[in-house]
């Protein structure tokens, strides 16, 4: 296996991987391919969730690239952003493990594809602002000097892995309508095998408002353009249900990760800023009308405490 193949097989986001896939294609997709992809996807999800040490591997052929592509199609069809996020995190963990093993030459060859301005600088690496802010990195805490952010190899791997996770779980480019029928059929069982976040969260944070259908729907993640108002709605519901700010922050972080990953990222700090604001203004009420206007819900919930209050 030469260097180019090694990069292609192990780093799904690399130019070499894209080239490999465009040359080889996915071929004829059989049920066995989808089963292998499902197995791969669930393994990554388990690894993302696992508290026990992660058991990584190094890819020796292009099968993994095929499974990644198929997993993403299946995840897109499943409509479960929570599972998509875990898949991205699992895959990113794997890439981070592999990057940790690489010598300087391969390390730089892979990472300059994510960060074109990357330069080795003594025992550190220097990154330009545009590259640094392209991921979920907060510039205000960065060691920034003269337009360069200087970071160590481990921090760089962590950063790259976050970006890789974001790219892997961004399914916005997949046209569900164009998926082959075999994938849509297989996705039914696949979806049932995926973990579901909102149910877990609701057991932990059961409240009058948070328990409403509208809130469950928002908590499960919303798309671009709705994420900010979604965070405001959750913050108000948390406040009304009497959650401590710490509990509400945990829920808000979960919401951010459930939200759709797209070209315009939605940062945790933006959601937590909504929470801060709402907790400083306890008089703010939840407006179902606003939720409807913003497209966060499509109908009023049955037994809504808001509606009841108005009726009384």
């Amino acid at each position: 296996m030469d260097l180019q193949q090694k990069i292609a097989f192990n780093y799904f986001f690399s130019r070499q991987a894209r080239q490999y896939l465009s040359e080889q294609g996915l071929g004829t997709i059989a049920n066995s391919d989808l089963e292998a992809a499902q197995d791969f996807c669930l393994r990554l999800i388990r690894n993302a969730q696992a508290k026990v040490p992660f058991q990584p591997w190094v890819a020796q052929d292009g099968d993994e690239l095929k499974w990644i592509a198929l997993s993403r199609m299946l995840l897109s069809q499943s409509g479960n952003p929570f599972a998509a996020r875990l898949f991205g995190e699992g895959l990113a963990k794997l890439c981070a493990y592999r990057l940790g093993l690489e010598d300087t030459q391969v390390f730089a060859a892979v990472l300059t594809q994510l960060y074109p301005t990357l330069k080795a600088d003594g025992d550190k690496y220097a990154l330009g602002i545009a590259d640094y802010t392209s991921g979920q990195n907060e510039l205000v805490y960065a060691p920034l000097d003269g337009g360069k952010i200087f970071i160590g190899r481990d921090s760089l791997i962590e950063m790259a892995s976050r970006l890789a996770a974001s790219r892997a779980s961004d399914l916005s480019g997949i046209d569900k309508a164009a998926l082959p029928p075999l994938i849509t059929e297989f996705a039914v069982d696949f979806t049932a095998a995926l973990p579901s976040s909102p149910a877990l969260m609701m057991r932990q944070f059961e409240g009058k408002f948070l328990n409403q259908g509208c809130m469950k729907k928002i908590l499960a993640g919303v798309g671009e353009g709705k994420r900010f108002y979604g965070s405001m709605a959750i913050a108000i519901a948390c406040q009304k249900d009497g959650l401590s700010k710490e509990e509400a922050s945990a829920l808000m972080r979960q919401y951010v990760t459930n939200c759709q990953r797209s070209s315009h990222e939605f940062r945790e700090s933006e959601a937590l800023a909504s929470l801060d604001w709402v907790y400083k203004h306890p008089g703010i009420n939840l407006s179902c009308r606003k939720l409807l206007q913003q497209g966060l819900i499509d109908r009023y919930c049955d037994g809504c405490p808001q509606t009841k209050r108005k009726a009384e």
Partner: protein, 405 residues
């Protein structure tokens, strides 16, 4: 009436052709302003880089009454200024393939200059409603700090690709046209503003607290920014060291303002050489309650504490911004492009004048005004006739604070 923008001389014939209110149109003050604005544009070239790729907006009563306009050439733009005489002229920081197209998505965004917009916050005691030197000075000081401490020092922006212009009223605009930065997303631009403003920063993240047990005693050590730090961490240290270098009375006052007692402040002052050395090495346990000092530093370290740094102008790439070197309809001053050296002692009331200070005009002030402009003080009594320099008359008429005789 030269002000009405009715002729379809631009590519965009579908844009609303807003007319100024009739009452205002008819006023001789408006005609007077228009006549002088027109004269200015007949003799002053407005230069807009990449003119054919920008969207333009113009205003007569409001800052922008009509937008989605585009021009193929400088000449066409200049003709527009001379024939339509807008009181306010803006262009997009963004470059588009089809700048006149509507809706916004049809324009096909290509890239956008990075803009920072600083404006004065008039909410201070003794604000002068005609021309406030306090506002002008505070915003100018913050622009210099924005440029030197943040854009050049921290961000490493190129001085040759960064331009500054006076807004023509109370603020300044910084334009950065570096190719790599012109591709930044709105979220990335937001990060830059957030960095400069230093808002929502959790300063605890620059510090680590460790507890050690030595001889059965629990000792807490605080590590924080050192001379090896960069970015905001370095800024906190630099500010702390600057405070430690103050003379005793200022030193004590600063620490008291931060929440220390007089005795605590005096103790720190007595040990300030040791504290300075320790802090430089990142050993913040050398100072009592370092969080109080950091909180005090945080109050003024960012841009926009005393002036307004308009976040939306930087992040919203569909916004229009005043065209440099055009006239501002609220003041009759030029939104003058400044070199970095000019900025250091720029006084808009003498250096951004578009109109004569020797010719005079008779006006009736609507109230009592006392202000400095054009190098001298001007006192006008309410509803009394006064003969003032043309530039002063234009300022008062644009601000609707005087009438012509």
């Amino acid at each position: 009436m030269i002000f009405l923008d009715s002729a379809a001389t631009t590519k965009d014939s579908s844009a609303p052709e807003a007319a100024a209110p009739k009452e205002f149109e008819r006023s001789k003050e408006h005609d007077f302003i228009g006549k002088h604005f027109q004269q200015f544009y007949k003799t002053h070239q407005v230069n807009v880089p990449s003119v054919s790729m920008r969207e333009f907006g113009f205003g007569y009563e409001k800052k922008i009454d009509l937008r989605h306009k585009s021009f193929q050439s400088q000449k066409e733009l200049q003709e527009y200024f001379v024939s339509k005489v807008p009181l306010y002229a803006s262009y997009s920081a963004a470059f588009y393939e089809y700048p006149a197209a509507r809706p916004m998505s049809a324009k096909n965004f290509l890239r956008a200059e990075l803009i920072f917009d600083l404006d004065a916050s008039p909410a201070h005691e003794g604000h002068n409603p005609v021309m406030c030197s306090h506002c002008q000075e505070s915003v100018r000081a913050d622009v210099i700090r924005l440029l030197e401490d943040f854009l050049f020092a921290d961000f490493g922006f190129s001085k040759t690709e960064t331009t500054v212009n006076f807004s023509g009223s109370k603020g300044y605009h910084v334009h950065v046209a570096t190719e790599a930065l012109m591709q930044l997303s709105s979220t990335q631009r937001d990060q830059l503003v957030e960095y400069c403003a230093g808002l929502n920063v959790d300063f605890n993240r620059f510090f680590t607290v460790q507890r050690h047990v030595i001889n059965h005693r629990s000792i807490e050590t605080i590590s924080g920014p050192s001379t090896a730090s960069a970015g905001w961490a370095k800024r906190i240290l630099d500010r702390a060291l600057a405070i430690l270098a103050l003379p005793e009375d200022e030193f004590v006052a600063k620490f008291k303002a931060a929440g220390y007692t007089k005795k605590q402040a005096e103790t720190i002052f007595a040990n300030k050489d040791y504290v300075t050395e320790q802090l430089s090495q990142g050993r913040w346990s050398a100072i009592e309650k370092p969080d109080l000092l950091v909180a005090e530093i945080a109050k003024t370290a960012g841009i926009g504490r005393n002036v307004s740094l308009d976040r939306a102008v930087t992040t919203d790439m569909s916004r229009l911004i005043r065209i440099p070197d055009t006239l501002h309809g609220d003041t009759g001053l030029v939104a003058k492009t400044l070199s970095l050296s000019e900025l250091s002692n720029f006084d808009p009331t003498t250096s951004a004048l578009a109109f004569d200070m020797k010719k005079t005009e008779k006006v009736i002030a609507l109230d009592h005004y006392d202000f400095y402009f054009g190098g001298s003080s001007h006192v006008l009594e309410k509803e009394k006739l006064a003969e003032v320099p043309l530039a002063v008359a234009m300022l008062l008429l644009c601000k609707k604070k005087a009438l012509l005789l």
